[in-house]
Point group: C2
Chain length 230, copies 2
C-alpha cells in the first residue's frame, strides 16, 4: 500500500525531509496538500507533515523519519545507531525551527512585514551565534563517526544525510552571503551535502517538478535584509 | 547501574521532564549539573539534558523519555502506542520551546532586558494564539483516548501525564492570569495534571528539595508584563 504524505502545498518546508527519504528509496507514495480526509483519526497530529502508513498515522517530521528509516533502508540496523540517528534529526529540526523563526520571531500567525524589526535582530543572532553552533555540532557528529566522514551516521546513506543536504540548500537560499562565509569551516558537512546532491537515486527527483523550489512562503526565505551585510 | 542525568543546575527546565519520570518510577539516578566528564563521548548531545544509561548516552528530552518509557513502566507496551506517546511528547517540547521564546524571542544568548519589546509582542501572541492551539490539541488527545480521559495515552500513567503536569505548573507560574482565564476550556488536561500532582509515587519527591522551584533563569519565567493585562 502506498504511503500518503500530507503537507502544505506550494512549499518544500518540513515535508521535504520526508519526501527526500521516500524518493531516495523509490517508495510508492502519494503527496497530499495539507490536511486531507484524515481529520477523524485516532492520532491526529498537531500540524503537517504527517504520514499515513496503512493503519498508522504519524506526525512530527523527525518521528516520521524514525518510523520510515528501517523500512526504507535509511537507518542503521542496530538500536543504538537508530537512536543516535533520531537524536541528530531532532536537533536538525530544532535548527530548522530557528531558521524559520528568523522571519517570524513574534509569531507564525503574523505577516513578516509586521515583525520586520524583530526579524532583523533575530536573524543577526541566528547568523552569528546559532548557525556556527549548529553547523559546528553537525561537523563534530560527522568527524566522530567511527565509520568515516562519508556519512552523518554509519557507513551508508541515512535520512540524516538527505536532511543535511536540504538544510544546507535552505541556508544557501535564505542566507547566501552568511552561508558562503561560514561553510568552509564545516568541510565534512558540506562534502556530505554535495555527495547527496549527486546521488543517482535522487537525480530523477531533483530534476523533476515534484522537487519544489524554495520560496517566500516556506521555512527558508530569501529576504536579503536578513542576510549578512556586504 | 544508576542512570546519570546531566542538566543545568539551579533550574527545573527541560531536565525536570526526565526527573519526574525517574522519580515516579523510583529509579536509581544521579543528578549532575550541566556537562560533566562526558564530553569525550561518541554521541555528544547538542545541549543538556542528556542521560547516561550504561554505555548509551542520549540527548533530546523527548528522546530520553522515549528511551526510558518502557524501562520505567511509563509507556504503552505496543509499538503504535509508544510512537503516539513519543509524538505527543515531541509536540509538548515544541510548546515548551515556544514558552521559552516568549522571554527570548531574539536569541537565547541575549539578556531578557535586551529583548523586552520583542518579548512583549511574542508573549501576547503566545497567550492568545499558541496557548489555546496547543492546550486545545492536548485536550483533543485526551478526549480521543479510547481508554478514557484519565490519561493522555492508554489506561495507566505515562511520561506524557507527568509532562502535562509540569507544563501546566509552568504556565501557571509564568502566565498566572492567562492560565486562570483559559484553563477552564481544557478540563480533561487540567484533571490529569491535578491527579499527577497527588500521585503517591511523587509525593516524597514533590515535597523534597530535589524538586526545584521555577525561577527567572528557567524556561517558565514570571515576568508580569508578559502575562495578560488585568
Amino acid at each position: 500500500m502506498a504511503y500518503k504524505l500530507h503537507y502544505w502545498p506550494g512549499l518544500p518546508g518540513r515535508g521535504e525531509f520526508v519526501r527526500l527519504a521516500l524518493e531516495f528509496a523509490g517508495a510508492d507514495y502519494e503527496d497530499f496538500g495539507g490536511f486531507g480526509d484524515d481529520r477523524d483519526i485516532a492520532t491526529p497530529s498537531f500540524a503537517p507533515p504527517y504520514l499515513r502508513d496503512g493503519d498508522i498515522v504519524i506526525g512530527q517530521t523527525a518521528l516520521i523519519l524514525h518510523h520510515l528509516g528501517p523500512k526504507l533502508g535509511l537507518a542503521p540496523q542496530d538500536e543504538a545507531g537508530r537512536l543516535w540517528l533520531h537524536q541528530i534529526q531532532l536537533t536538525m529540526m530544532d535548527f530548522v525551527n530557528e531558521a524559520h523563526d528568523t522571519h517570524h520571531p513574534v509569531g507564525s500567525g503574523l505577516y513578516y512585514e509586521d515583525q520586520k524589526p524583530e526579524a532583523l535582530r533575530r536573524a543577526e543572532h541566528f547568523r552569528t551565534e546559532r548557525m556556527p553552533k549548529f553547523l559546528g555540532w553537525f561537523e563534530t557528529v560527522v568527524r566522530g563517526n567511527p565509520h568515516g566522514r562519508g556519512h552523518m551516521v554509519g557507513d551508508a546513506v541515512t535520512y540524516a544525510d538527505l536532511s543535511i543536504f536540504q538544510i544546507l540548500a535552505g541556508l544557501d537560499y535564505a542566507f547566501p552571503k552568511a552561508t558562503a562565509r561560514q561553510i568552509g569551516d564545516y568541510p565534512s558537512v558540506a562534502a556530505i551535502a554535495k555527495t547527496v546532491g549527486q546521488l543517482p537515486e535522487l537525480s530523477d527527483y531533483l530534476a523533476s517538478d515534484r522537487r519544489q523550489p524554495f520560496n517566500e512562503t516556506g521555512i527558508f526565505r530569501r529576504y536579503p535584509e536578513l542576510d549578512d551585510p556586504d
